[in-house]
C-alpha cells in the first residue's frame, strides 16, 4: 500500500473538532439502556418477573437442585383446615400478625401443597414461554432475513408459506398436535408451538431488511465486494436488533397465554406434570368452594403476562423513542 508515504497537512486543526461533536460520546446501546431504565412500567414489570422467576425456581428446586421449600408438589397428605391457605396477610384484623403457615396457598383436594404446585406450574409455564419466545424468534429472524435480503423466489416461497401459516388458527393446530404428542412433555409442546408462531417476526424482519437493503451503507458494503453473509450479519442484523428483541419479548408474553389456553383446553401439558393453565383448568369448578385453587395460578398468569408486556413496552420505547423533531 503506497498511501503511507504521502502525507498532507490536515485542513482542519485536529483539536478544533471537539466543538463539532454534536452530542456526548454515548453509544447507542448506552442510550437505549438509559431510556429503558427510565420507563417505570418496564421497571415494575422487570422487578415482578424477577421475583416470580426466583421464587418459582428456587423454592421447590428444579431438576437435581433442591429448593428451600420443604414440600414438593406431588406428595399428597392430610388436609389441614380443609386445605385452606394458611397465608395470613391481614396482620391486625385477626390479631395474630403476619403468618405464612404450613400451606400458605392452601392444599388441593388430595392434600398436595398448593404453593409447591403453583410454583411447579409457574416453572413449566415460564419454560414453555421462553422456549417459544427464543425458538420462534430464531426461526422468524432466519426466515425474514433470507426472504428480505434475497428477494425473488426465496422470498415468494417463504412469504406464501408464512401467509398460509398465519391464516391457520394457532390454537386449533396446536390442539391437534398437542392431542397427538401431548405425552411427550412440555418441552416438545413448546417446540411445536414455536413452529407456528415464528411467522409474525418473519414478516417484521423481512420488512426491516427490505428497507435496510436500500440503505446506502449496505450499498457501500456491496460496492467494496463484501459477501452476502457479511452484509447480513455485520450490517443488517445489528440494525434490526431493536425490532427483534421487542418482538421476542412480546412473543413470550403471548406464549404464556397461549400455553395457558391450551392447557386449559386439555391439549397442553398433561398430568402428572402441571402448568398454570392446567391448574386453572383442573380447578375451575372449585371456583365457589375452594377459590384459592383457582385464584393463585390465575394471579401468577396475570402477573407474568402483564410484566412481560410492560417490559416489551419499555424496550420498544427505548429503541424507538418518539421525539418531536424540530429543524434548526
Amino acid at each position: 500500500m503506497s498511501l503511507s508515504n504521502l502525507r498532507l497537512e490536515p485542513e482542519i486543526k485536529a483539536d478544533a473538532p471537539e466543538r463539532e461533536f454534536t452530542i456526548k460520546a454515548r453509544t447507542q446501546g448506552q442510550m437505549v439502556r438509559a431510556r429503558f431504565f427510565r420507563h417505570r412500567g418496564a421497571m415494575i414489570g422487570f422487578g415482578a418477573i424477577m421475583f416470580v422467576v426466583i421464587i418459582a425456581y428456587t423454592s421447590i428446586g428444579f431438576g437435581p437442585i433442591p429448593g428451600w421449600w420443604g414440600l414438593d408438589f406431588s406428595s399428597t397428605g392430610e388436609l389441614v383446615n380443609e386445605g385452606r391457605p394458611t397465608l395470613d396477610l391481614i396482620p391486625f384484623v385477626d390479631g395474630d400478625g403476619l403468618a405464612i403457615g404450613a400451606h400458605p396457598f392452601g392444599q388441593d383436594t388430595i392434600g398436595r401443597d398448593y404453593f409447591a404446585l403453583t410454583m411447579r406450574g409457574t416453572q413449566i409455564s415460564l419454560m414453555v414461554a421462553f422456549v417459544i419466545g427464543i425458538l420462534s424468534t430464531f426461526l422468524g429472524t432466519v426466515a425474514g432475513a433470507i426472504s428480505g435480503y434475497y428477494g425473488g423466489t426465496s422470498e415468494a416461497v417463504i412469504m406464501r408459506f408464512t401467509d398460509l401459516l398465519l391464516t391457520i388458527p394457532v390454537l386449533i393446530v396446536a390442539a391437534v398436535v398437542g392431542q397427538g404428542f401431548g405425552d411427550s412433555g412440555p418441552f416438545f409442546l413448546a417446540v411445536v408451538l414455536s413452529l407456528l408462531i415464528w411467522t409474525y417476526l418473519a414478516r417484521l424482519v423481512r420488512g426491516e431488511f427490505l428497507s435496510l437493503r436500500e440503505k446506502e451503507f449496505v450499498e457501500a458494503a456491496r460496492a467494496m465486494g463484501a459477501s452476502s453473509t457479511r452484509i447480513i450479519f455485520r450490517h443488517m442484523l445489528p440494525n434490526c436488533i431493536g425490532t427483534i428483541i421487542v418482538s421476542a419479548t412480546l412473543t413470550i408474553a403471548a406464549a404464556i397465554l397461549i400455553e395457558a389456553a391450551l392447557s386449559y383446553l386439555g391439549f397442553g401439558v398433561q398430568s402428572p406434570d402441571t402448568s398454570l393453565g392446567l391448574l386453572i383448568s383442573t380447578y375451575q369448578t372449585a371456583f365457589s368452594t375452594r377459590p384459592w385453587l383457582f385464584w393463585w395460578p390465575g394471579l401468577f398468569i396475570i402477573t407474568i403476562a402483564l410484566s412481560v408486556n410492560f417490559i416489551g413496552d419499555g424496550l420498544r420505547d427505548a429503541f424507538d423513542p418518539r421525539q418531536t423533531r424540530v429543524r434548526a
Binding site: E9, E11, I12, K13, A16, P17, R19, E20, F21, T22, I23, K24, T324, V326, R327, A328
Partner: protein, 340 residues
C-alpha cells in the same frame, strides 16, 4: 411610504431535551415592511426555521418562547389561541419545504385549498372551491378546474409547491413565510416557482420572509437580508450590501466558499470547521473557533448586533472594521487557509 407590519424583538426559543435546554434561537430581532422581501439566510443549527415556526405558533408545547413579536401593533406571543388561529393562515401564511408531506394525501387539492379559505371566510363550499380554482390558475397550474379535483400525489413536485403557494395566498395574507420553498426541487422548477412567488406576492400585496441557505436565490428575490448563525442574527442589511460590502466574517466566508456558476474559479475557500452544536456553544462569539479574525475579546464577549458605517446595516462582530477595510472580504479566509 411603507409601513412596518412585523417587528420581532429579542426572540428566544428554547427546547428542553435529554441533554439540557437547547436554545435554538437566542435573541433574534428584525422588522418587515409591507411588500418587502426579507431573506433569512443560515445553515443548519442557525435557528432560521425555528424562528419562523415561532412566528406561526407551530412549535411544540414544550418550547419556551420569550421576546416580542409585534404584528401590526398586536403582540403575537400574548394572543389567545383563538386570535392566533384567526391570524394564522389569514394574515400570516406559510409555505413549507416539502410539498409532499405538507398536503393531506386523502383530500383533493381543491378541497384543501377550499378548506383553507373557509377557515377564515364564512362561505359555501362551492364558493370556496371557485376561489380555489382561481388561485390555482393564478399560480400557473394549467387546466386549474380539472386539476383541482386531483390528489396531491398526482401532481409533480413543482406543481405541488405551486399549489402550496396558492394555499398560502388564498386569504390574501399580509405576510408569506416561505421556508426553503425550493430546496427540494430541481433547478429548472425552482426558477419557475420563484418567479411565481414574486408575481403572486405583488398581486396580493404581501411581504415575504424567505428562509433559505442558497445565496443565489437570495440574490434574485430579496430586498433585505438577515444572516443567522448559531441561533442569532449576525448581519442585517440590504441585499446589495451582503454581496458587495459584507461586514461579518461569516458572511464573507460563505460568499468565498460557494463556487460561481459564471466562472471556473480557482480553489474554493471553505470556512474551517462546522456550525456549532447548540448544546456545546463556545464562550463568546459562536463563530470564533472558525474565524480568521478572532481576537481575545471574541472568545469572551459575545458581540451584539450593532450599527456599522453603512446605513441600515448592523453586524454582530467585534472586528467588523477589519472586514470593512478589506477590498475583497473573502480574502480574509484565503490567507487563513494558507497559514493553517
Amino acid at each position: 411610504m411603507s409601513t412596518e407590519i412585523l417587528n420581532v424583538s429579542d426572540l428566544t426559543v428554547g427546547f428542553p431535551t435529554d441533554d439540557g435546554l437547547v436554545t435554538a434561537v437566542r435573541g433574534v430581532s428584525y422588522s418587515l415592511k409591507e411588500r418587502e422581501v426579507l431573506a433569512i439566510v443560515g445553515e443548519s443549527g442557525s435557528g432560521k426555521s425555528v424562528s419562523a415556526m415561532a412566528l406561526m405558533g407551530l412549535l411544540p408545547k414544550t418550547a419556551r418562547i420569550t421576546g416580542s413579536i409585534r404584528f401590526r401593533d398586536e403582540e403575537v406571543l400574548d394572543m389567545t389561541p383563538r386570535r392566533y388561529r384567526e391570524i394564522r393562515g389569514q394574515n400570516i401564511a406559510m409555505i413549507f419545504q416539502d410539498p409532499m408531506t405538507s398536503m393531506n394525501p386523502v383530500y383533493t387539492v381543491g378541497d384543501q385549498l377550499a378548506e383553507a379559505y373557509r377557515s377564515h371566510h364564512r362561505v359555501e363550499r362551492k364558493v370556496a372551491l371557485g376561489k380555489a380554482v382561481e388561485m390555482l390558475d393564478r399560480v400557473g397550474i394549467p387546466q386549474a378546474k380539472d386539476r383541482a379535483r386531483s390528489y396531491p400525489h398526482e401532481f409533480s413536485g413543482g406543481m405541488r409547491q405551486r399549489a402550496m403557494i396558492a394555499m398560502a395566498i388564498i386569504n390574501s395574507p399580509d405576510i408569506i413565510i416561505a421556508d426553503e420553498p425550493t430546496t427540494a426541487l430541481d433547478v429548472t422548477v425552482q426558477a419557475q416557482i420563484l418567479e411565481t412567488l414574486v408575481e403572486v406576492k405583488d398581486s396580493v400585496n404581501a411581504a415575504v420572509i424567505l428562509i433559505t441557505h442558497d445565496l443565489g436565490v437570495v440574490a434574485g428575490m430579496a430586498h433585505r437580508v438577515l444572516v443567522m448563525y448559531a441561533g442569532r442574527g449576525v448581519e442585517r442589511c440590504d441585499v446589495e450590501d451582503i454581496y458587495r460590502r459584507p461586514r461579518m466574517p461569516y458572511t464573507a466566508g460563505l460568499l468565498g466558499s460557494i463556487p460561481a456558476l459564471d466562472s471556473a474559479g480557482g480553489k474554493l475557500h471553505p470556512i474551517a470547521g462546522a456550525p456549532p452544536s447548540l448544546i456545546n456553544l463556545p464562550a463568546g462569539c459562536p463563530f470564533s473557533p472558525r474565524c480568521p479574525l478572532v481576537s481575545d475579546r471574541c472568545q469572551t464577549e459575545e458581540p451584539q448586533l450593532l450599527a456599522t458605517d453603512l446605513a441600515h446595516h448592523e453586524v454582530a462582530c467585534h472586528n467588523w472594521e477589519q472586514v470593512a477595510a478589506s477590498p475583497d472580504p473573502t480574502l480574509i479566509f484565503r490567507t487563513a487557509a494558507v497559514e493553517a
